[in-house]
Symmetry: C2
Subunit: 519 residues, 2 copies
Amino acid sequence: MSTEDKKRRPFFYDVTLRDGNQALRHPWNLYEKERVFKQLLKLGVQGIEVGYSGASEMDFAACEHLAKMAPKDVIISGLARAVERDIVMVWEAVQHAARPRIHTFIATSPFNMENVLRMSPAQVKEKAVKAVALCKSVMGGKGTVQFSAEHFGDCRENLDFVIDLFHGVVEAGADVINLPNTVERYRPRIFVDMVEKVARALPPRVTIAVHTHNDLGMATATTVESYFGGATQLETALNGLGERAGNTNMYEVACALANCGEDVPLNMEEIFETAILVSDWARVPIYEKAPLVGSDVVAHRSGIHQDGAAKTKGMKKGAYRAIDSGMIGRKEGDRLGFTSQSGKTAVFEIIRGLGLPITLPEAAALQPYLKKLSEEGGRGELRDEDILKAYDQEILNVSGPLEFRGFRVEPNEKEFYFDVAWQGKAHALAGQGTGPIDACMHAVEKIGLYFHLIEYSQMALDIEHLDFAAYALSEIKLQRKPGPGGVPGGAEAIGRGKDLDTIKANVRALFNGMNLLLR
Amino acid sequence: MSTEDKKRRPFFYDVTLRDGNQALRHPWNLYEKERVFKQLLKLGVQGIEVGYSGASEMDFAACEHLAKMAPKDVIISGLARAVERDIVMVWEAVQHAARPRIHTFIATSPFNMENVLRMSPAQVKEKAVKAVALCKSVMGGKGTVQFSAEHFGDCRENLDFVIDLFHGVVEAGADVINLPNTVERYRPRIFVDMVEKVARALPPRVTIAVHTHNDLGMATATTVESYFGGATQLETALNGLGERAGNTNMYEVACALANCGEDVPLNMEEIFETAILVSDWARVPIYEKAPLVGSDVVAHRSGIHQDGAAKTKGMKKGAYRAIDSGMIGRKEGDRLGFTSQSGKTAVFEIIRGLGLPITLPEAAALQPYLKKLSEEGGRGELRDEDILKAYDQEILNVSGPLEFRGFRVEPNEKEFYFDVAWQGKAHALAGQGTGPIDACMHAVEKIGLYFHLIEYSQMALDIEHLDFAAYALSEIKLQRKPGPGGVPGGAEAIGRGKDLDTIKANVRALFNGMNLLLR
């Protein structure tokens, strides 16, 4: 049934920077790609597709930059259509890596050859073979060539043609044959049968790769089962980012393989933190019920489940746990408590669990304070009140050189007066604006402080327990800028403010954020 | 490999009201359960597990109520531990249905028998057989009995024992044997092999059911493959709701089976609307990249994908589409446009696509207005500007008996003055409060209008295009109440307000919401 081979290990080839990035609402720039790249190195992936260098100058520059900083043991790959321009551009970008790869592709499904490429199968085969030969020739003996038959999952009717094409590209020098389920249309068993057929047909020196999409929610299963069907290179993405419903989720594949006894070559304890960071960087929130990393998946709400979880707490295996969540760096598992041994992800989870917003950098900043609190007088596991108090002091009341003392608004609602102290000296600053935030930012310009507002939101806190006099919680993300009309730059800070008065919550958030940038 | 039988059809047994509900942060009351129940009938499921009647009086009452209103052809089931009290309570609740079922269960995995039940396998078998016999006896020849081996997916080591237990419960009268992957730990093929073994061992009159969870992201695949392995009853949940990472997602299973040529006995065109409604009712947002129903899964962002999508637009099959999205009632597919033929889900998707918040009921209220606009002078497909203008007029400026004319605030920030017209008559109302929302709600009490604030939030609109003078958009959910200190009741309304000034945005939202409840 399966071609399991005990000496074989999965090879994780990450496509977040290419397939993931191309599907983002705000694709990453060079700096942002580097941040993700470094996280992939921390995770210990074996291959990274750094981009589609033909897409834009920015993507070319990013590919080149990442190839130059790549460690010796990681394959660095760029995507190219089966055309000379793309192939040459990928090579120019990735040749700086110790283990460069050109990844070229063409669609081989009857539907796509006819309707999108508008070419005959013979023409497609010729183009594929020529492209692989060109890769080999520009690379001059260095690196490896990967060929993908786009829409492979839709090649049931013409699989014999596709295998024939594979023989051609392997003869032309392809080292890796990638089988993409470009659009998920059927079910894993149908795809895996095709993978097995290809694996049997090609010489053993050829690496079989699978690249699956999640249109029907079965990408993880298809990739996992394909591994047991003979595919070694698994193309996955952080947080399952990618076109439409995404690419295959790396974390799910890694945990399933580990649970099935396979030797997973990843630093899996980095998974949980990576998921939180990538969610922020991609501006794609983690679904609360996302397997392994969702905020809600460690909760047990029914009595029967709570009983089972309690009776197996502390055991390596839990009655209602798929994994020991320490395996992915989510140390607290079924229930959370902060002790001096807890890290920033524990802070992050506990505070989110209390219904309050926080980012991972804020959690990291708060952790030493909580650690100290837990150690003081052997207090041990902190109570929720202790943690809420710390949040109040360290996040909602940031101390710094700019002190907010009060404000008032003129009845005409256009002019606001702010009493502040700047580096210990009192000022009464007037500011006009369309509202208090705008007015406050104009007011502090009078003492030479220039800021740029990136994002703003406000929510009601604890609304269920009150009538209509609830706390408002504001979140303001800002950056400094050099002067009026200047280009904002440097670090970003998030200021949070809480008040019964929605206006004051905004002003407090603004002052907290400004102090984080000023101190 | 598979035991496909062309005359066999999948039987959809829905567990949203039981497994889904027990995992909610705010479990549903009787009214809310009825709302979901009716939606399940619209979808045309074959069986509904209405609750765990032993859990609480409320859940018992809901089970009884839904059993009484059930149509003749739908199986109505309640869950019972293998104990007399639970079994009797289920029967009292479900006996009113034309096709009642008791669903009883006990754990059969070595780990759970030892650590949670703390019973020997022989004791577990005895308890299971007795429970099924008791079901048969209380039911007096009516209905059907379903037995579940909880943690079946973790019974690889003792499968022979479990099959022996199944023979016992079948002899005692079980009609359906359910195989739950209570916690997803391995991979689909391992589970399906076990399903096939059970299916071969039991007499053909016994229905094999599967009930899978999504801990590693493979629940859909496991259920789909189990169907081809001999399971007929598929236990799924709306939106994949359920403990931890959820139960099997009904929509994904239905679409995968349909794509594989199976005869899916559901009104699949209700899926998209159901997903949006259930997300609101469960207070669990739809992940933007959720297969089939996520807001982002119909977008194509890379040039290659956009080209393929454009070349296959209007075809039944698309280059980058898993399904023709009309199949699930998402009529617009790859690209959205409002015409006189478009319904409320189109309005919902277009407005969300423009970055504005809206609920399905708001979209339904806006649809006739847009339809008329589209028909006027043969305008056809509306432009984004037309839709934004309609949103502005109908949602951000609700006309009604209470007119907001202006307000001012005292420099002491505690007293607000509101100029309003109530049923055409002008009033100047003063209100005190912790902020403008609070003050405004107190102010209108002076003309006899009492409201209860349920939820409040504010966000910045279009922030990326401006410096820091952006629009604020407030959302206020409220209900009426009979007087001071009265219990709020009746319909809920969402008021939205937009203004450059964050305070005015709140006040406008409040007046819009109040008018929706007053008119």
